[in-house]
Symmetry: C2
Subunit: 435 residues, 2 copies
């Protein structure tokens, strides 16, 4: 061999060291606990799919970003770039095996060959959850409530969930005869927080003329409480209709659950995609609104459009785990957990490692994760090792009296002598209850 290989990861890809991975897992576990508590079920699907499936009608930006290649069998395949398209394929393929309404969550990696700006990665994790096969205010509200619970369980502090209804927006555009330019208008409106009102006005004017542009801007800039905003939107759409009734009912549910403080109505939330047809929403952290929405989604009426004539309505959302973690870090809420171990058995004699494991097993059985140090270094060196590993307690077996131990508190640098293993389990167990 000529030389050594330089160990490095691809640009836009990341290793996760233990502290980071513990953090990621704890957030995923929090999210999963909430999803499960609502009766949502996990699924999984392949990382690699036929390109035809992933591209769908698409193309454009998506196509350029895909990791696409021919496999050894000559198939045109790609790594998934989101969890939505594979989910549609999954449902179309397994329709007969699923029980509707079908409520699922899927937490998995996706890949996009994007330009790697700050906070943009080519491999990242999405957490998607959807209810499909039912079109009701109850299902809409359930997703909203689950977002609230899921994010609060991650410890992000206060959140605001901004809600709107795309059907109502479409009705308004129709009313002012601007609905033919729907896609262009949506794209412009979706940029309002980035580029500001006047720039959006310019784009809209070029597309539909200044009168209609002004009407759209008035509509989306309206600020009011639920009741007045709903009334304005309803009037602008030509009167009461099923979409305004849906939004009215969702607001009743919000009031029933006492969550008026979390949910706002916001006519400027339309989401860029023409995929959505019902409610749409975005979630902001009140302590860090600048990071943008950490959980967005809405209702769509055509999940299976690419695969069959059957239409299947659904409502769902996606949490951007990487953005959430970045936000928590900025807020100084990064958890800081470095290990799962609560204690370590010090190694006094390497010939006794079998016995040390027996001691450790007693602690593990009592629900106390316990490491065993397997090198008989000086005790002071083992205490330093425990400190480095963030292990709070070290248990030192007595060399004189079998069944007797010293318990070292690494934080306070104090010892408790002549304890039994049962004493130690009680002592460490008590600190768990206090925390």
């Amino acid at each position: 061999m000529v030389g050594f290989i330089t160990p490095k990861v691809l640009k836009g890809f990341r290793d996760f060291l233990p502290a980071e991975e513990i953090r990621r897992r704890s957030l995923v576990e929090e999210l999963e606990t909430v999803f499960r508590s609502f009766g949502f079920l996990p699924i999984d699907s392949p990382a690699l799919e036929y390109t035809e499936i992933l591209l769908g009608k698409g193309g454009g930006e998506t196509e350029k970003q895909m990791y696409r290649f021919n496999d050894n069998g000559g198939r045109d395949v790609s790594l998934r770039f989101d969890l939505t398209v594979p989910f549609a394929r999954f449902v179309a393929e397994h329709q007969a095996e699923l029980c509707f309404p079908f409520k699922r969550y899927h937490i998995a990696k996706v890949w996009r060959g994007e330009n790697t700006q700050k906070g943009r990665y080519r491999e990242f994790t999405q957490c998607d959850f959807d209810t499909i096969g039912v079109d009701s205010a109850g299902a809409d509200f359930e997703i909203l409530l689950m977002i609230k619970n899921a994010l609060l369980s991650c410890g992000v502090g206060n959140i605001s969930i901004s809600v709107n209804h795309r059907g109502l927006f479409n009705r308004f555009l129709k009313k002012i005869n601007a609905d033919e330019k729907l896609v262009e208008i949506l794209r412009a409106v979706d940029k309002i927080s980035k580029i500001g009102n006047s720039e959006v006005f310019n784009i809209l004017s070029a597309s539909v003329g200044s009168d209609k542009a002004q009407a759209v801007l008035d509509f989306i800039s309206f600020k009011g409480d639920w009741d007045s905003t709903l009334r304005m939107m309803q009037d602008a759409a030509g009167g009461a209709n099923p979409d305004s009734e849906r939004l009215t009912r969702i607001y009743e549910f919000i009031k029933d659950s006492g969550s008026e403080g979390v949910f706002q109505i916001d006519p400027s939330i339309t989401r860029g995609l023409d995929y959505y047809t019902g409610i749409v929403f975005e979630t902001f952290l009140n302590e860090l609104p600048s990071i943008g929405s950490v959980c967005s989604g809405g209702r769509y009426d055509n999940l299976l459009a690419l695969y069959s004539k059957n239409s299947l309505s659904g409502v769902g959302a996606s949490v951007g785990l990487d953005r959430l973690i970045a936000a928590l870090e900025t807020l100084g809420k990064n958890g800081g957990q470095k290990t799962y171990s609560l204690c370590a058995i010090a190694c006094v004699d390497e010939a006794l490692c079998g016995k040390y494991q027996v001691f450790a097993e007693k602690l593990r059985s009592a629900g106390i994760p316990c490491e065993v140090f397997d090198e008989a270094k000086k005790l002071s060196a083992q205490f330093i090792l425990a400190e480095k590993r963030a292990v709070p307690w070290v248990i030192i077996p007595s060399t004189e009296e079998a069944g007797s131990f010293t318990l070292r508190n690494i934080g306070t640098r104090t010892n408790l002598d002549k304890l039994s293993l049962e004493d130690i389990i009680r002592t460490i167990g008590n600190t768990l209850i206090k925390n």
Copy 2:
């Protein structure tokens, strides 16, 4: 659009429907709980790496099976085919940030474009765990004990872990002057359970002659208890040496922990790879030995060989999750859990879905996962839905008396009337404690 796309996954790839995914997750969670209880920490690394990194010195079979392509930036990249090579790269890259001995686990998907025979997939999950940076009997034994605990926690029933020492085998080969053919001999010996003694003898004879072939066969076929087997191997290797001492000490630890019933010494276990240098082991299910080893591994002394002159010793193993699941299914131990929900709130009036969510939240806060049905179908239809979804209890809010509920046991088809939510939490909670 001309027609619809046929929804299908690639050959060798799989979707996981909820019941399957719940099963997979419950096993992964069992494994993780054990890994964490030993102080092992999670890491993660990219699915995609530079091909140069993954290929290393390799080539051959591995290279043919890799999903390899040029990314949009013209880089030669591949999907990882195992977690071992990326781990070596990870450690080489982050050496300065890690705390040694470093104990990590990594549970993730890998990809191999293999021929898809029965039970072989092109995308599958590996669960790897290793201790690196220490070469001791204590670390060897800890991995063995962790395998035992991890597999027992998965409910596979009785297991046998067969242990050997590759160093001892190498010494024996050197003693009989057959060590130059090490790689060929290892490959032949590794096939013994598949092709039988006489076929292995033929292969060995062709390589080292019939006398040495017979000596190798005698060595690996020896059947005895730990003491007699160790003595035979030690004699065949030319007397006591550090490797036989290591194995002797590990056996002492096994006895200390009272696990003699689980661990056997087996001179025929050598593992095919010339990568291993110390102990090697394979794990069999006593109720289904024919499925082969469900967890194998060993000690290696050269994790960083490709990246630097530094040598770093480690010991580790890998659980084949897919094989484990297949085995559990064959044994009729497939869990059978179809949902996380314990109850559902029946929908009597769709206008009350907000209130139903408030009821559900009380149950969820008490640790009882609770769905809300959001279509006001006939109660009998909602009971059928609950049965289909494997939800054991349905809670029917009274239409007459606020705060009063009927609790339907779906299994027994019996009702408890006029309960408060607190009564219901107690009743469902009690069944949890009993189980």
